[in-house]
C-alpha cells in the first residue's frame, strides 16, 4: 500500500509538472505582457520600463525556472493587476470556490446516489424514468442558461433568493444547484449502472441464498461494491467542477477563483492565470490521488495489490 501511494504520488507530481510547463508556455504565447500590464493609458516608455522591471526580456526557460522554483515555495509571483502576491489572492478567492465545490458535490451526491440506487433497484419504474429524465436533461442544460433562469424565477419573480453575492448561506443555494446539477447526471448513471451490475452478480445471489434480508443485500453487499467507482468519479467531477465554476461564478457574481480566472484572462494578468491553471490542476490531481488511495483502501483487492 505504501509503495502504491508512493508511486501514485510520483505520477501525480509528474502530471503536475507537465501541466505547469503547458500552462506556462501556453500563456507566454499571448500578447505582450508588458503592454497588458501598463494598461490602456500607458505610453510607449511606460511599456518599455515595465518590460525591464518584470524581466520579460529574459529567455523563456529562465523565466519558467524562476516561476517554478517560486511556485515550489508557495510564491506564485505577483499579480500584474492587483500588485499583490498571487498566492494570497488565490487563497482568498479559493475559499469561495471550494465552498461552492463542496456544496455542489454534496448536492450532487445527495441527489444522485439515492436516485441511482432506487433506479437500479426498480428499473423502468417511475423513479427510474424520473432519474433518467433528470440526468439526460442535466447533461443537455447549458449551465449559464440554467443559472440565468433560476435568477429570473427565484430572485426576480419570486424574490426568494438573492441573485448574487456570498454573504449568507442563501446566496449559495442557486450556485450550488447549478454547479451540482452539472455533476449529478454522471454520478447518477454510474451509481445506477454499478448497482445494476452488482445486483446481477454472483455474490449477490450468494447473499440472497443465505437468506439475507433485502436491505442487507442492497446496502451491505451491493452498495459497498457499487460505490467504489462512484468515489473516483466524484473526485474527478469535483476537479472538473472547480475548473468549471467559472461560468457559475460569473453568473452569480461570486468572487471566487473561477471568476478571478476569467477576469485575469481578460486583463492578461499572466501570473494569476498561470497560477490558477496550476492550482486547478493540482486540485484535480490531489482529488484523484486521494480517491485512488481511498479506492485502494475501500477495495480489498487493491489494498493487497
Amino acid at each position: 500500500m505504501l509503495q502504491f501511494i508512493a508511486k501514485r504520488l510520483g505520477l501525480a507530481l509528474l502530471v503536475a509538472l507537465t501541466v505547469s510547463i503547458i500552462s506556462f508556455s501556453l500563456l507566454f504565447l499571448s500578447g505582450d505582457p508588458a503592454a497588458a500590464l501598463a494598461g490602456e493609458t500607458a505610453t510607449d516608455q511606460d511599456v518599455e520600463a515595465i518590460r525591464k522591471l518584470y524581466g520579460f526580456d529574459r529567455p523563456m526557460l529562465v523565466q519558467y525556472w524562476d516561476w517554478l522554483s517560486g511556485a515550489m515555495t508557495g510564491d506564485l509571483g505577483e499579480s500584474y493587476y492587483f500588485k499583490l502576491p498571487v498566492a494570497g489572492l488565490i487563497a482568498d478567492r479559493l475559499q469561495i470556490t471550494m465552498l461552492l465545490g463542496v456544496c455542489g458535490i454534496t448536492f450532487a451526491l445527495l441527489t444522485a446516489v439515492p436516485l441511482g440506487v432506487v433506479a437500479a433497484i426498480r428499473p423502468n419504474s417511475v423513479i427510474d424514468r424520473l432519474a433518467l429524465f433528470l440526468s439526460v436533461a442535466g447533461q443537455a442544460m447549458p449551465s449559464f442558461w440554467f443559472g440565468l433562469i433560476l435568477i429570473v424565477v427565484f430572485s426576480i419573480k419570486l424574490g426568494w433568493l438573492p441573485p448574487s453575492g456570498t454573504t449568507t448561506w442563501a446566496h449559495f443555494i442557486m450556485p450550488t444547484i447549478v454547479l451540482g446539477y452539472y455533476a449529478m447526471p454522471a454520478i447518477m448513471r454510474l451509481t445506477r449502472a454499478g448497482m445494476l451490475e452488482v445486483l446481477s452478480s454472483d455474490y449477490i445471489r450468494t447473499a440472497r441464498a443465505k437468506g439475507a434480508p433485502e436491505a442487507t443485500v442492497l446496502f451491505k453487499h451491493a452498495l459497498r461494491n457499487a460505490i467504489i467507482p462512484v468515489v473516483s468519479l466524484a473526485a474527478v467531477q469535483m476537479g472538473f467542477m472547480l475548473g468549471g465554476s467559472i461560468v457559475v461564478e460569473s453568473i452569480f457574481a461570486l468572487h471566487g477563483a473561477g471568476y478571478l480566472a476569467w477576469e485575469s484572462i481578460a486583463r492578461n494578468d499572466l501570473p494569476t492565470v498561470q497560477a490558477l491553471i496550476l492550482v486547478f490542476s493540482l486540485f484535480y490531481i490531489v482529488f484523484t490521488f486521494l480517491s485512488d488511495v481511498l479506492n485502494a483502501w475501500l477495495d480489498p483487492r487493491m489494498r493487497a495489490g
Binding site: S201, D202, Y203, R205, T206, A207, R208, A209, K210, G211, A212, P213, H221, R224, N225, L298, D299, P300, R301, A304
Partner: protein, 331 residues
C-alpha cells in the same frame, strides 16, 4: 423409506423475452429424500440452473414460476412468502454456485461472509459463529482456518474458494444443499477433490443434495438418483445404476455414446453423435423436444408424449415404450 424432503410436481418456468415467452422449464417432477443425492444432468441451457433457483425461490421477479406442488419438508414453497423463504434459505436449505471466483463478495472477509448466515438465522454471538466457521473450514480441508477468516476472497485460489463456499453452505447444517455445477470451473484434479468432499460431507451430515452438472462422469460417480434434462423437460429419471447401465431415452443413450471412455471406446474411432441443435423454446412448444435430433423419431413425436416406468423409480418420456423405434432394426 421416509417421506420425501423435497417434492416437486409440474414445475414450469416461463420467461418473457424479446420475441415472446421462453418456456425454459416445462412441467418437471422429482422427489428427494433425506440423505439422498439427486443429479440433474443436461446440456447448457436445458434449464438446470433455473430449476434449482426455483426451488430456492431465487428467480428474479420477472420470471414466472409455477408448480402443481412444491414442498420442502411439508412447507408449501409455491405459496411461501418472501419472508418464509428467507427463513428457509441459508438455514435449512443452502446453495453452492458454479463460479467460485465471483460468488464471494470481494469487499468482505471470508470470516464475515461465513458467519453471516449463522448470525442471521441463529441466536449466536460473534465468537460462537467464528468458532463454527473455523470448525467448518477445517472440515472442508482448509488448514490454518483461523487465519483464513481475516482474508479476502481474492487472496484465495479457486479450489480454496469453492471449499469456502461449501463451508458457507454448511454453516447452519442445512437439510438440503443445492450445488449448481460446483466443479465446472475447476481443474480436473481439484474437481475430484471437491466432489469427494461434497459426497463425504452429505453422507456424514445426512443431507440431501441436488447436484447440477453437465458431466456424465460426475453424475455416475456421485448420484443416487439421476434426472436427465433436455430443453426444459426431464426426459429420464432413475437411480444412477439404472440410468447408466440401462439408459432408455434415446437422448440419454446418445449422450453416453458421445463421450470417449478410456478403455471402452476404441482409441481414435468415431464417437457417437447427436446431430443438430437444441430447439428454441420461445413460443408454443409441443411434443417431444428431442424429436428433431432423434434417430428414433416418428410422426407421433409431435403429440403428447407418454411417460414409461420400466422399473420402479426409473422413468422416461418417449413415444416408444422401449425407447427404440420398433420399426427400425436394432443392432
Amino acid at each position: 423409506m421416509s417421506d420425501p424432503l423435497l417434492t416437486v410436481r409440474g414445475l414450469t418456468i416461463n420467461i418473457p423475452v424479446g420475441g415472446g415467452i421462453l418456456h425454459a422449464v416445462r412441467g418437471i417432477d422429482f422427489d428427494l429424500r433425506r440423505g439422498e443425492t439427486l443429479c440433474i444432468v443436461g446440456e447448457s441451457g436445458s434449464g438446470k440452473s433455473l430449476t434449482s433457483l426455483a426451488v430456492m425461490g431465487l428467480l428474479g421477479g420477472r420470471i414466472d414460476r409455477r408448480a402443481r406442488q412444491m414442498e420442502f419438508d411439508g412447507i408449501d414453497l409455491t405459496g411461501a412468502g418472501s419472508r418464509a423463504m428467507r427463513r428457509l434459505r441459508g438455514d435449512r436449505m443452502s446453495m453452492i454456485f458454479q463460479e467460485p471466483m465471483t460468488s464471494l463478495n470481494p469487499a468482505y472477509t471470508i470470516g464475515d461472509q461465513l458467519t453471516e448466515a449463522l448470525l442471521l438465522h441463529r441466536k449466536v454471538g460473534r465468537e460462537a459463529a467464528r468458532a463454527r466457521a473455523i470448525e467448518l473450514l477445517e472440515k472442508v480441508g482448509i488448514t490454518a482456518a483461523a487465519s483464513r477468516l481475516g482474508q479476502y476472497p481474492h487472496q484465495l485460489s479457486g479450489g480454496l474458494r469453492q471449499r469456502v463456499m461449501i463451508a458457507m453452505a454448511l454453516m447452519c447444517e442445512p437439510e438440503l444443499i443445492i450445488a449448481d455445477e460446483p466443479t465446472t470451473a475447476l481443474d480436473v484434479t481439484i474437481q475430484a477433490q471437491i466432489l469427494r468432499l461434497l459426497v463425504d460431507l452429505t453422507r456424514e451430515m445426512d443431507m440431501a443434495m441436488i447436484l447440477i452438472t453437465h458431466d456424465l462422469g460426475v453424475v455416475a460417480r456421485v448420484a443416487d438418483k439421476v434426472a436427465v434434462m433436455y430443453a426444459g423437460e426431464l426426459v429420464e429419471t432413475g437411480s444412477a445404476t439404472d440410468v447408466f447401465n440401462a439408459p432408455m431415452h434415446p437422448y440419454t443413450r446418445g449422450l453416453l455414446r458421445c463421450i470417449p471412455q478410456p478403455g471402452k471406446t476404441e482409441r481414435g474411432a468415431r464417437l457417437g453423435t447427436i446431430p443438430g441443435i437444441v430447439p428454441s423454446l420461445v413460443g408454443g412448444v409441443t411434443g417431444c423436444p428431442f424429436r428433431t435430433r432423434c434417430d428414433q423419431a416418428v410422426e407421433r413425436c409431435r403429440d403428447d408424449i407418454p411417460r414409461h416406468e420400466p422399473d420402479p423409480g426409473h422413468a422416461f418420456r418417449c413415444v416408444h415404450e422401449t425407447g427404440h423405434n420398433p420399426a427400425e432394426v436394432q443392432p
